[in-house]
Symmetry: C2
Subunit: 396 residues, 2 copies
């Protein structure tokens, strides 16, 4: 697409920030433009700016799977996410700190966001016990026993050196009784207070702690969670506990209920989401940041996102197709290799298949965000969103 | 090592070849210099020159595992090897031909050597029956029945478009009765004649067929095999059926018996070999070409070859070692990442670990060949070999 050349220089269309450390806060958010509820902005961190709406590739155990760090940066990512739960178990937070922190360990010099570990304790660990104090659990790797509390989660995130850290929260499985959703939401609010206190003790200048709105799909609980977190005056807010099986429409309805309660002056992050259509509809409602394993996980399974629609490279129809995967993409893997070759690599279970398709999908997600930023800047987000959803929704 | 800068321009030290297509045969070998029995040469092919001694990275199913083709080239490889057995089963030789041949399929524009499939029929297929006609076998992938004969093997290699093709041979397991070794060697000679006849029908100008010397570890059988093959006047000769468990010293003794029977004017290829020490000792005896899965397979298992010795990255002693894997290597993976990070990646079973160590090892093998070429050119191979074996034999 021709607009991509423009997108590359999109940031320069905005008035330059005043120079000097005092003129710009070490962490902050600038809202450049709005188109409907869609927001174009910049999150400022000491390690560099994050152009929003932003998609954060997931580097679970200190690597974005099957990609060199240079490829993640070249795809257009300003920030990546890493997982507290995985890194505390292996190689261990204290070890990463002794080695100089996560950035130099994994050779990513841009900002890093870490989650709190709460979600993985629920989804991955073998045995867990949630109390007011925190979560006791057994490692999914070796069965060893561990404790995560708000204090320990923040301590770990500071040891890793994360630029954006997340409060410790309890993520429950949906559907659940309202009473249970309310209990977990209120516990998460108390944990937010404790996370904030711990963050104030351990963090460095320029690092930021985000609160996480919980409350399932209940509008009243979500609103209460948002109001209480906003009262804590945190530098950013996330919406958690969605994309866990409730469905696209329920997720969007929940978002619509939450977002009016969050301040316009701070970034809003929708955790663990999602498909390209999810991203478009969430940006349309005012979300600024996303993370999801979908581009890399789907890539490893042979599913590609392209500007012409989704493509399952394992499908036999590609076996003798000499056309490239996506001539509209700027990713070398989408242009230089034939579908026939990619099909062969996936059928053969070869590393290079996972490497190429993870690259294609990571690049596609960044191009999608860049296209959204451009559409917002030019005040044509609605038309762009409708046209884009139509073309990328096809089966290629 | 400082000599590496020089090695990069090593080829230019030799007198330029006369220009024009007629002046240089489409396929040929030039012997530039000898140091003892070690030979410095060039194998000429229409797809480019191969600097010898040469190591061919193995691209079994049309990919050198866990590497982009650009990385293989940048490491210094002039030629790669692909496997007839694997490619005939998936994606199929006729399919590769319809797609334009193996070179464009896998994006490798340099020369490619294919083996005949004989070795894999023995080592991989479930059921096999060897007759005068050829080998019947069942696919290790789906159990389907196939037949490989000298005629079909060459037809497949021509369909793939291989620049250097190998005669079909029977590889038996060692140790074996002399009678059995002799029977298989004589069958392989008859198959060489049939391979040659098939090659003359199917091949294109500039492609070359190599014969394979068999005969186990029996000097008399090996000599007879070599003499009969040389009488067929093939453009190159391989030594097959070694490095199958007979041990380093027996392998070298067998080589010493064979090589005097092969013409000096043609390239000599030792199949499926081997460790860095194997390569040095074989070059010392007059071998020009090698292939082996060791650099990539060891890389996937966490074993690295470095100029300071072998390193097992899975070893706990590397867990907090911030030093690079090999500061003497020019490979980015050996210089830019810490041993601690590589250790973490291998322990976590991450793609990037296999990617980085396959890259390091592939690069090391190419640097080793370049260093050998330079040492031969400068007439100091013996001293270089002794010093190099000492340093790379360490446990790092």
């Amino acid at each position: 697409m021709n607009e991509l050349d423009e997108i590359k220089s999109c940031g320069s269309a905005f008035p330059p920030e005043p120079a000097g450390e005092k003129a710009r806060p070490a962490f902050g958010y600038t809202l450049h433009a709005q188109d409907g509820r869609a927001r174009l902005g910049t999150v400022h961190t000491p390690r560099g700016d994050i152009r929003t709406p932003a998609f954060m590739p997931v580097g679970t155990v200190a690597t974005v799977k099957a990609l060199y760090p240079e490829q993640v940066r070249q795809a257009g990512a300003d920030i990546i996410l890493a997982n507290t739960y995985h890194l505390m178990l292996r190689p261990g937070a204290e070890r990463v700190a002794r080695l100089g922190g996560l950035h130099s360990f994994m050779r990513w010099d841009g900002p890093i966001l870490t989650d709190s570990g709460g979600f993985q304790v629920m989804s991955l660990s073998k045995i867990r016990k949630i109390t007011e104090a925190g979560a006791e659990f057994q490692s999914h790797i070796d069965g060893s026993r561990h404790m995560l509390s708000p204090e320990r989660s923040i301590e770990i995130q500071c040891l890793l050196g994360a630029d954006i850290q997340m409060q410790f929260d309890e993520c429950i499985e949906l559907p659940a009784e309202r009473r249970e959703v309310e209990r977990a939401m209120e516990l998460s609010l108390r944990w937010a207070e404790r996370s904030k206190a711990s963050f104030e003790r351990h963090s460095k200048a320029g690092q930021a702690l985000f609160g996480i709105v919980q409350g399932g799909t209940d509008a009243e609980l979500r609103a209460r969670s948002a109001r209480e977190l906003v009262a804590m005056d945190l530098p950013g807010y996330a919406v958690g506990g969605l994309a866990v099986g409730e469905g696209h429409d329920v997720m969007l309805a929940t978002l619509e209920g939450v977002l009016p309660h969050l301040p316009e002056s701070k970034p809003r992050y929708l955790m663990g989401v999602g498909t390209p259509e999810d991203l478009i509809e969430s940006v349309r409602r005012g979300i600024d940041m996303f993370d999801c394993v979908m581009p890399t996980r789907n890539g490893r399974h042979g599913l590609a996102f392209t500007w012409g629609g989704r493509v399952n490279l394992r499908n036999a129809k590609h076996a003798e197709d000499l056309s490239p995967l996506d001539p509209e993409s700027a990713c070398p893997a989408a242009r230089d290799y034939s579908r026939a070759y990619l099909h062969h690599l996936m059928r053969s279970g070869e590393y290079l298949g996972a490497m190429l398709l993870s690259w294609v999908n990571t690049w596609f997600y960044q191009e999608l965000m860049a296209a959204m930023r451009l559409a917002i800047a030019e005040g044509r987000f609605e038309a762009w969103a409708a046209a884009t959803k139509e073309r990328i929704g096809r089966k290629g």
